[in-house]
């Protein structure tokens, strides 16, 4: 079978090196658009947090702090396994690549499971803004605003996680079909960049939602 890297060369590129660099630049530009997408929500959140600090601390106190901390650790581990997957694709070890991809997918699922249990717990405590919200603390309105942003931002993050899981499954299938080699593994790198970015976003979400009110519990 011909060397996969030559076959995969798109006709508008002159050499594989140019194709890899262009795809990486394209991916990073896409990540910048994601930064601005989440950035809009972070800006709105920080404006409201600045004008109602008490309400937002109260809302943050209602979070499941330990579940959040565990989730952060889980996502960092999935980032690690993803990095190992990229490393093994670079060194051409296909079997190890498949194992690490599978590990990343599974750890990602663990994160999603924990996330949705948190959502269920909030539903149980009647903390769904707009649908079912009951709060007796003095600034209930601002606690509801906190939860609006909590569900908006972590929901968007979870959506990105699900898309990431899909991408990783596609990578696993293509690895199984043997379309990657030591000289052609750009899709794996791009999937890695996307996954690490989603992990970075969660790092900030954990910092602004779970930590400020943890001491009030």
């Amino acid at each position: 079978m011909a060397d996969p890297s030559v076959l995969a060369l798109r006709e508008q590129f002159r050499n594989p090196e140019q194709q890899r660099e262009t795809s990486t630049v394209g991916m990073w530009i896409f990540l910048v658009t994601e930064v601005m997408l989440f950035g809009g929500l972070f800006t709105a959140f920080s404006v409201y947090r600045m004008s109602h600090p008490a309400g937002f601390d109260q809302g943050s106190a209602d979070m499941e702090f330990w579940l959040g901390a565990i989730n952060t650790a889980v996502l960092i581990c999935s980032s690690f396994t993803m990095a190992m997957a990229v490393h093994s694709s670079e060194t051409g070890k296909k079997s190890r690549l498949a194992v690490f991809l599978l590990l990343t997918i599974l750890i990602g699922l663990v994160f999603l499971v924990i996330k949705f249990t948190e959502y269920y717990l909030h539903y149980h405590d009647q903390k769904l803004p707009g649908i079912l919200f009951h709060d007796t603390s003095p600034d209930a309105a601002y606690v509801q605003m906190f939860f609006v942003f909590y569900f908006l931002m972590t929901g968007l993050h979870a959506f990105h996680m699900i898309v990431g899981e899909g991408v990783l499954c596609a990578m696993l299938i293509r690895t199984w079909l043997g379309s990657f080699s030591e000289r052609y593994h750009t899709p794996i790198e791009l999937a890695g960049l996307y996954w690490h970015f989603v992990d970075t976003v969660w790092v900030f979400l954990f910092a602004i939602f779970y930590i400020p009110g943890a001491h009030l519990k």
Partner: protein, 345 residues
């Protein structure tokens, strides 16, 4: 159409200064614009292509020219910015002796309330030569109070007081428009400003059968809704002493200090637990839904009327008419007679 244009030139105190700046800018930009257009036509004609293979001298760089047409526009722009800023601050800082008018905007009508208690729909009678300060709030969507003749405009936001001031110079009737799109009848949310000579204004005041000044209405509400149970003027009630509260920095429980402007007072009435004063318990019930915007405006007028911030010398002008502050409760029942001192800035 011409007379209205001329009339436009004189009415508001700001108008004359505005027109001068506007038309100086028009002259300046017009000169530059026609200069460029003329130069384009000149080049198109004078340097038209004589022969199909003509190759003109390929000059393509002149540093001094570039520097001049960067520096000169920059200087002109800075001066435009500076003068625009000066006019803006004049527009935003009301003179000390300005008289308050409370405006409540709702979908497709303006409700104005004078301190003397008169209430008007879609109209506003003002004496000529008096600075009028508008305190405005909306009950639903964003509107914008716009009097073209006086060159003033200010968006009216739900949930927050915004203010602007103007002073009529020439008596007459001027358009009032809503300038921020607010729904189906946005173009019907218009009205009239009647600038009247002080004598006619007095006659109009008497006709308006006001049932007492805005501050006295506010005082009635102050007692009716039980505010006086906790807020004593002697200073040791369960609630903070509200005498001289207006524009006084207030320290709240979260450590921030907030200036007690209209928005703070309104927020403390409607969402009372938003900003609790240092050293007090969050026990005040919220009056959201019980008080209309007009009633909140009346309460604010009352709180502003019962005294300037302690220690501040008595303001000249309307302050005296507000009654004596030597500790006895001012009698606010009779309508407020506006200061008729000529030439009050």
């Amino acid at each position: 159409m011409m007379p209205t244009c001329l009339a436009l030139l004189l009415q508001g105190s700001v108008t004359r200064e505005y027109n001068v700046f506007f038309w100086v800018m028009v002259a300046l930009c017009g000169a530059v614009g026609t200069g460029i257009a003329a130069f384009l036509v000149y080049c198109a004609w004078h340097y038209r292509r004589r022969s199909p293979n003509e190759l003109p001298p390929q000059i393509s760089m002149n540093i001094p020219a570039e520097v001049t047409w960067i520096a000169v526009p920059a200087l002109i722009f800075i001066s435009m910015f500076a003068y625009g800023l000066k006019m803006y601050f004049d527009l935003e800082r009301p003179p000390d002796n300005s008289e308050d008018v409370y405006v409540v905007a709702r979908q497709w009508m303006w409700k104005t309330q004078h301190l003397g208690g008169q209430r008007e729909i879609d109209t506003l009678h003002v004496p000529v030569g008096r600075a009028i300060r508008l305190n405005m709030i909306s009950q639903d969507v964003i509107h914008s109070f716009f009097i073209p003749a006086f060159r003033i405009k200010q968006d009216v936001l739900p949930g927050r007081y915004t203010s602007i001031w103007f002073k009529a110079v020439v008596p007459g009737t001027y358009h009032l428009f809503c300038a921020e799109y607010c729904g189906t009848e946005h173009s019907q949310m218009i009205g009239w400003i009647y600038a009247m000579n002080p004598k006619d204004y007095q006659i109009w005041l008497q006709q308006g059968a006001a049932e007492g000044s805005l501050a006295s209405t506010g005082e009635k509400l102050f007692h009716q809704f039980g505010c006086s149970n906790c807020h004593h003027f002697s200073g040791h009630g369960r609630g903070p002493n509200l005498r001289g509260l207006y524009m006084r920095p207030v320290q709240i429980t979260t450590g921030q200090t907030v200036v007690a402007d209209e928005t703070y007072i309104r927020e403390s009435i409607l969402q009372s637990r938003a900003k609790i004063v240092q050293g007090f318990q969050p026990i005040m019930p919220t009056f959201q839904g019980q008080l209309s915007e007009e009633q909140v405006a009346a309460l604010i007028a009352y709180l502003k009327a019962i005294g300037p911030a302690p220690g501040e010398e008595m303001p000249s002008g309307p302050g005296e008419e507000m009654g004596d502050y030597g500790g006895i409760r001012p009698d606010l029942s009779e309508p407020v007679a506006p200061a008729t001192k000529p030439g009050a800035r």
